[in-house]
Symmetry: C2
């Protein structure tokens, strides 16, 4: 099933609802983007992904990656598509002009990410991780490091990775064992084993820049003794010329449920040449530059899988004739009515549609907030702190849910390879696992951010939604205000409960995040409804009518899920902690 | 990750909660089963599945089935395991003694199904579908047909299939096109294409008995013109001796998301020799004998995947050390605390445990109800009519949810093949699709059964739970009564709404079924809690303490989900039906 870029909805979200043009104009560190430029970039990107990446969606899954000798071969066509990707200058879209970038806002890369990811998530990860490496070196590298690495990452002639996980630790990076010893030439010799390295090796570029967490000799124990290193796959000299192979070897390619087109590697660093980046022992803080961007990037995966599932399911449901309208034949001219006639099929389709379009607004707003945070605005930093874990966890969970609905709408046909819906689910499933599981995002949100600030970080977010809803004349505003009250009350109850037992945080965290995420989606749907309502006064485009109806659906049929989340989390920690080990 | 049969919990469910011994004694048409016999059959079955089927779990998935020439080869070891299965007499467990069966109640086969299915779902489907073919021929076959086919199906020397779906119709069987023409020798010549035939071909037995829906010449249109046929893969004579190949050919093996060890075939019937079974044009009614059993069988799949996911996740969570208790180190002697320390991990594990154990009670009660219905008891027939669609849809949906939690508990390790959790999810995913999707079960429940009887079929079920809860002194009884009130009120509101617009049925149906299913699980957990509470007066076995704590968890943290289902379905049909076709 082919992916068609939803250009109309992307423009609606960015231009009409979020006022992207005005947003970009206020940025000091980026070029501004007017509506014409936006539409033109979007159109070109759509052409690229539909022509180059979408055709590799199924073959990439079927062929997967192969470890041949010392290096990984990607599926047929991946190299050629990547060559075209860099020829077209896509990697440099949002990079600083000093290093050859086009200087557009970071949020423009997010838009590109949606298209790349929806057309071919596995392929897009090779390009996506480079952006994290690029931004990490830009933020923390010395001038010489920037000069050596950034032009290659900006042009896309090299890609990047992030190397955190080891066999015995993923979430708990304080336990990591990879060691870096200073050597005679001012550099370091790095030794250790990393696993689950996405895009860890491939044949797309001549070099790969690994950003690696490791310990210096005599480093303090735990997370305060971790430093950050650059370890190129191929050694380079001062000018950035490749001088030979570094001792970074692919130990294994993981056999995974999905994303078979992306090489998930176990990497062995056997005394590899490494450069320290950022201050010693501050590696985890520096890595958060990478990780926060990677979390936004991963949230896009959720949107991509919702969108792809919706397109596939809708296409099938419009064509497939099966059973009759419960009131009697809707299309007596046909042997049976189309699936779109049946209320429960519509419930599934509209769930996908409402989540995809709502997430699009949420994630583009998140990207714009990242633009502003990048400008050093405190308010934006704070909003980002709340929004990032919600967006990452919510979007990937909904990506899985909608991908599964994509299978469900097609019935048995969804379970076989032919229609691409089962691949979409297999690919989606990793979203809630990497870059911090849903449980970790939820702890970050409720524990570190909300309880950690005693509610201070949350209050402006709630106040903003409250004000927006109060001055709205949308029929959904009172519904949103009720939902907001539930979010606020739940937050206050948990702030109190955490005082007496911090385990109440972990016990409530995931359901709390889902509740908060659904209220936030309600906020974005209110904004969309207002914009569409205003537009329908001047236009009878079905797009705006559809938008209002989908908003109505969201408030009537999806937002009420929060009643269930709230009721479950009220059950509290004790019900979770009562079993002794031998009672599990 | 190995599967270990939960013998203690199975005996608790059957003997202690459901009073299986007394149940079996009252059956006229089956041998009675005392506690000793039950434990001994369970123990032998556990030995068989753990030694023969569990070792083929991963290799069966990796190797899959292959179409070689005219026949399908199953993965290595499948044939040998099947040979042992019939040598041990397992297929005949619940079959009538007239045809070589052991004459035990049908519910004993359900117990066996749980073990076979948990150890290796793909393998178990070869055996499982035979039971449906066997029961269909037993119920509708002429004496000669029974004599020819049943001894082979009972002994397991032949297997069976059910052939309904065609490329253009699955749910809507009224559209099927396969035709059966009478021939000169009193039989029929059957021509057509069937797809998605589970166990459609294989190398386990010398013959396969296909039960096929087709149309006679001049049959009325729609479902009233469908007849049922027996089409053996190998032609047989009057005595049941094989005389040569019938014209049933495997057109294709489907490439699926999971259950790779089971051969899902497209079958071409090219003028195949067929026998009519049951009255002409009554095929669909006859097929429901098969389908209702297949639905109970498929509900077992949900239980199996919950159980397997729980065992895998628990094993990993007890061993894996990562991060610290939110109150400070729980195990300062270790480099980090076990995953079981963390509230959200416990939430996921207990969700799996509470669903697996609750479903076990529900499905064994369903099987006992089927025993009673088989005796011709109207009351049991009516209970079965309500319970079957709930059990099939709920169990398979929860099987998918728990399998996904199994992946989630393991983090990145859940996504790779090594631990078996991703296979469990891929295998589980088909459960809500075949034998009638969740949407179809929900329409059957709310539309055909509840609205169709104007609530009459539902009332005794509600009354029974009400009475049980009212005379219970469990602390959870009031919680269950509240939940029951919500089920009742929701049912009444929908009975009313359906009068004005039948689409309200389809719009509410899936969330209604999930609500009803969770209240029913609450009923079973109340029963379990009472039994365990009484037992703890005499025993300090951790098993009973655990049972009470898991009941508490269910009522505190899972049953409240019904608030969300109720709130969402209250959104009604209009929000689903508003979009025009060009607005989707």
């Amino acid at each position: 099933m082919d992916y068609i870029t939803p250009q109309r909805d992307i423009l609606f979200s960015l231009s009409e609802v979020l006022g992207y043009c005005a947003h970009s104009t206020q940025l000091q560190n980026a070029e501004s983007v007017d509506d014409e430029l936006l539409a033109s970039i979007l159109g070109e990107a759509a052409k690229f992904v539909e022509a180059e990446l979408n055709p590799l969606y199924r073959s990439g899954d079927e062929q997967g990656c192969r470890l041949e000798g010392e290096t990984v071969s990607t599926p047929e066509g991946f190299v050629e598509a990547y060559t075209r990707y860099i020829e077209n200058g896509w990697p440099s879209l949002a990079a600083h002009s000093e290093f050859g970038g086009q200087g557009l806002p970071y949020s423009m890369h997010t838009l590109l990410s949606e298209l790349l990811g929806s057309a071919n998530w596995s392929w897009s990860m090779y390009a996506g991780l480079s952006q994290g490496a690029l931004n990490t070196i830009f933020a923390h590298g010395r001038a010489a490091q920037k000069q050596r690495y950034l032009p290659h990452l900006v042009s896309g002639s090299w890609t990047g990775t992030m190397c955190l996980t080891e066999p015995h630790c993923g979430t708990d990076l304080g336990m990591l064992r990879t060691r870096a010893e200073p050597n005679d030439n001012g550099g370091y010799t790095l030794t250790g084993n990393k696993i689950f390295i996405s895009s860890g090796d491939h044949d797309l570029t001549e070099n790969i820049v690994h950003i690696v967490l490791a310990r210096l000799p005599n480093a303090p124990a735990g997370t305060k003794g971790i430093s950050l290193f650059i370890v190129p796959k191929m050694r380079i000299d001062e000018e950035g010329n490749i001088t030979g192979r570094n001792t970074v070897n692919v130990g294994r390619l993981e056999e995974k449920m999905g994303i078979h087109g992306n090489a998930t590697c176990a990497l062995n660093f056997d005394g590899a040449e490494a450069e320290l980046i950022g201050p010693p022992h501050q590696g985890l803080a520096c890595m958060f530059t990478f990780m926060n961007l990677a979390r936004i990037g991963t949230s896009i995966q959720g949107l991509s899988h919702c969108e792809r599932a919706y397109q596939g399911a809708l296409h099938y449901a419009k064509d497939r004739l099966q059973s009759r309208d419960l009131r009697g034949a809707a299309r007596p001219d046909l042997p049976a009515d189309p699936l779109t006639t049946h209320p429960d099929v519509r419930r599934m389709l509209l769930t996908q549609k409402a989540y995809a379009e709502g997430l699009r607004l949420m994630l583009y707003d998140l990207a714009c907030t990242a633009d502003l945070a990048h400008e050093g605005l405190d308010e934006a930093q704070q909003k980002l702190a709340i929004l990032t874990p919600i967006a990452k966890a919510l979007a990937t969970e909904l990506g899985i849910e909608c991908a599964s609905l994509g299978v469900q709408v097609l019935g048995g046909h969804g379970y076989i390879r032919e229609w691409g819906m089962e691949q979409n689910l297999r690919d989606a499933r990793i979203g809630s696992l990497y870059e911090g599981t849903t449980g970790i995002q939820a702890l970050d949100l409720l524990g570190r951010k909300i309880v950690g600030s005693n509610g201070a970080l949350l209050r402006p977010v709630l106040a903003h939604i409250d004000q927006r809803a109060r001055r709205s004349d949308s029929p959904h505003a009172p519904v949103l205000l009720n939902a907001l009250a539930l979010w606020r009350d739940t937050s206050e109850a948990l702030l109190l409960a955490a005082w007496s037992d911090p385990r109440e945080i972990g016990a409530a965290s995931v359901e709390y995040l889902l509740l908060a995420g659904h209220v936030l989606l309600g906020y974005y749907w209110l904004c969309a409804d207002e914009t569409a309502t205003a537009a329908t006064a001047q236009s009878d485009e079905p797009f705006y009518r559809a938008k209002r109806k989908t908003a109505h659906f969201y408030f009537q049929r999806l937002l009420p899920k929060i009643e269930g989340y709230a009721a479950c989390l009220r059950g509290g920690a004790q019900a979770l902690m009562a079993h002794d080990d031998d009672e599990l």
